[in-house]
């Protein structure tokens, strides 16, 4: 899937606290930030950016529930309907001894499901090559990016001014 390229104006900051102040300022000025990139998770950034809380744990709960039910019901079906065998004089439906496997399958489904969901919604996976703005973003630079595809000269100049004013060490344009 080839996407059309976007013109991106971005500023690189040296420190996460400078970045946080800049993002806060941008929100106050009602600037439309395309994305913020950082080499490690910056705490408090998601609140300032106004990102809603990730719902991945809800997905995890649902996958886990599916795991529990399928394991427990499957074992019940095998031992009461499909091929009932008496083990050690215990009842066919000996729920207690189904617990360990039910637990393991719950954890397995929840974990695998969440990880697959994570990579899918982030647009990531083996061999995926998402365009990056700067190689130093995974090293020591913090980046605020603006989409300037439809911005005129004066708008771009204002954004550049904003980035330098808030402490960006470098301001560049790149189409990704």
């Amino acid at each position: 899937m080839k996407q059309e390229s976007t013109q991106v104006l971005y500023g690189l900051y040296n420190d996460e606290e400078v970045l946080l102040h800049a993002v806060k300022k941008a929100k106050e000025d009602h600037l439309d930030i395309m994305d913020v990139y950082s080499p490690f998770p910056v705490h408090g950034l998601d609140n300032i950016l106004g990102l809603t809380e990730s719902r991945i744990h809800i997905a995890g709960f649902i996958y886990g529930l599916i795991g529990s039910l399928s394991a427990f019901l499957f074992m019940t079906w095998v031992f009461t309907r499909d091929w009932p065998i008496i083990f050690g004089g215990k009842p066919y439906f000996s729920a207690l001894s189904f617990i360990p496997i039910t637990f393991e399958v719950t954890v397995l489904f929840a974990s695998v499901g969440m990880v697959v969901t994570f990579y899918t919604i982030c647009g990531m996976g083996p061999g995926v090559d998402n365009p990056t703005l700067d190689d130093r973003i995974t090293d020591d630079k913090f980046c605020i990016a603006f989409d300037v595809d439809n911005a005129d000269e004066s708008k771009q100049a204002a954004l550049r001014q904003f980035l330098t004013d808030t402490g960006a060490e470098e301001v560049n344009v790149k189409s990704i």
């Binding site: 990139y37 490690f40 991945i56 095998v78 083990f87 360990p100 393991e104 990880v115 990531m124 995926v128």
Partner: protein, 469 residues
């Protein structure tokens, strides 16, 4: 500003690092030609691996008869090794998951390598039940798949089957957790690389960009995976202990087994982490990230879990006497005074008595002492499993079938071989991946770096700190 910092906390990162020097220090070793120490270690490890391949081939070709197991003692070195390796695996998950939930920041220095150790240890563990089946090519029979024999299902009431589920789930979840942590760091390596190397790291870094939303989801995912891995790690060794505890053999049929096995697993796992970390930090020059503070913290865990294990040993003896049940009493008398008394002495000496040295802070912070102690503990924990398995089976209900077991050369080679397999995997990991979690270390720099906390704090930072409160 970052979280409040306690004045008594010691720095977790020394050497006044910046974000860039962290990247250089940790990703650097993957980019340089290997050192002589690494090459020598790798040759030794691959020799061990070759021995492993040979002895597995021998076992399968000749059959399980090539082992010295007999009708009385039908579990020997194989299951001892299995439990030993699984136990070692537990420290990785403990460090990465439980310490994450407890917000222990020192975990970031060692979690990556400890998780790698977990995965490799579980891989070594898994070999033993598989080859013990004898007919390895029918190994898939242990999974409940629709088959043409009825379908005839596996016995879901059997602890041995619970083990199949526990170990395979544990391996899968550990691998996913570890790899998800590695993805941002592989992206760091990718962005420093050129040519083919860049292509390879680009492939395995899954297109990571470092976007704020991705980081948010990544943190959320890590936290939930940690929450799942915590009960999982406790369940795995609990279920391994059920292999013994649900049988009706005196000496095995005890309710103390699950907590005692879990404590022992964490104990031996931390010992293995120490062995590996002390060598890794030296070879890769990571002393600034894996500091004496880390070694000290891990030695405290070793002291605590070692003492729990010691209490468990004594409790077992007491309960055997107190139960008034002669078979139980005999089983424990036999453990201490029977034909395998030497392994009981090894177990007690290495696991209970020797770790008491760590009450002294000076000893906890001595690299040499820690290294030798970690080897002692690994040996002691191997003895523990051998004591439980061999000494119990050697004296069963029927004195005419009492027996003695010592391993054949094939069994010894298999054990040495898995050490080779483990070392080979770990050495390759050291070469291709950042052995310390780069992104996580950067995240704790401002609360753990020695220019921000501790005695070497820079005054301008100290000032900045105070104005923010």
């Amino acid at each position: 500003m970052s979280a409040p910092i306690s004045a008594i906390r010691e720095p977790l990162i020394t050497g006044s690092k910046t974000y860039h020097t962290i990247t250089e220090d940790i990703c650097g070793p993957t980019e340089k030609t290997p050192t002589t120490a690494w090459v020598i270690a790798f040759i030794v490890a691959v020799t061990g691996l070759a021995l492993y391949v040979f002895s597995v081939t021998w076992t399968i070709w000749v059959g399980i008869g090539s082992w010295n197991l007999n009708r009385t003692i039908n579990w020997g070195w194989d299951i001892t090794n299995f439990v030993w390796w699984v136990g070692i695996g537990h420290a990785g998950t403990l460090i990465s998951a439980i310490l994450l939930l407890f917000r222990q920041k020192w975990r970031t220095g060692v979690n990556r390598a400890a998780e790698a150790m977990t995965i490799f240890a579980v891989m070594c563990a898994g070999q033993f039940p598989l080859i013990h089946m004898g007919r390895l090519w029918l190994g898939f029979f242990i999974f409940p798949y629709p088959n043409t024999r009825g379908p005839l299902w596996v016995n879901f009431n059997s602890p041995l089957l619970w083990d199949v589920f526990a170990i395979s789930t544990y391996f899968t979840v550990s691998l996913l957790f570890w790899y998800t942590g590695l993805v941002p760091d592989f992206a760091t390596v990718r962005d420093r690389a050129k040519g083919l190397r860049r292509k390879i790291y680009s492939y395995i870094s899954f297109g990571w960009t470092g976007s704020a939303k991705h980081w948010q989801r990544w943190e959320s995912l890590s936290l939930v995976l940690a929450g799942l891995a915590t009960p999982l790690v406790l369940s795995v060794h609990t279920i391994v202990s059920f292999d013994f505890a649900t049988s009706v053999i005196p000496g095995w049929h005890t309710t103390i087994f699950p907590p005692y096995f879990v404590a022992g697993a964490i104990f031996s796992g931390f010992a293995m982490v120490q062995t590996l970390m002390i060598m890794t930090r030296k070879v890769l020059k990571l002393e600034d990230y894996i500091t004496l503070e880390h070694i000290d913290s891990m030695n405290k865990v070793i002291l605590a879990t070692g003492s729990i294990v010691g209490v468990a040993y004594l409790t077992e003896l007491f309960i055997a006497w107190y139960s008034g049940y002669i078979y139980e009493q005999f089983a424990f008398y036999n453990r201490v005074m029977g034909p395998y008394f030497w392994s009981y002495i090894g177990m007690m000496g290495c696991n209970v008595i020797s770790p008491q040295i760590f009450w002294s802070k000076k000893m906890r912070r001595s690299i040499l002492v820690t290294f030798f102690m970690s080897i002692f503990i690994n040996i002691g924990m191997w003895f523990e499993r051998f004591v439980i398995i061999a000494s119990t089976l050697a004296r069963d209900y029927l004195p005419s079938s009492w027996s003695y077991y010592s391993p054949s050369w094939v069994e010894v080679c298999l054990f040495i071989g898995t050490l080779g397999l483990f070392s080979t995997l770990y050495l390759v990991f050291m070469r291709v991946a950042p052995v310390v979690a780069v992104a996580e270390i950067k995240g704790i720099l401002k609360t753990g770096g020695d220019q921000y906390v501790g005695p070497n704090i820079k005054h301008d930072n100290a000032h900045k700190e105070s104005t923010h409160h």
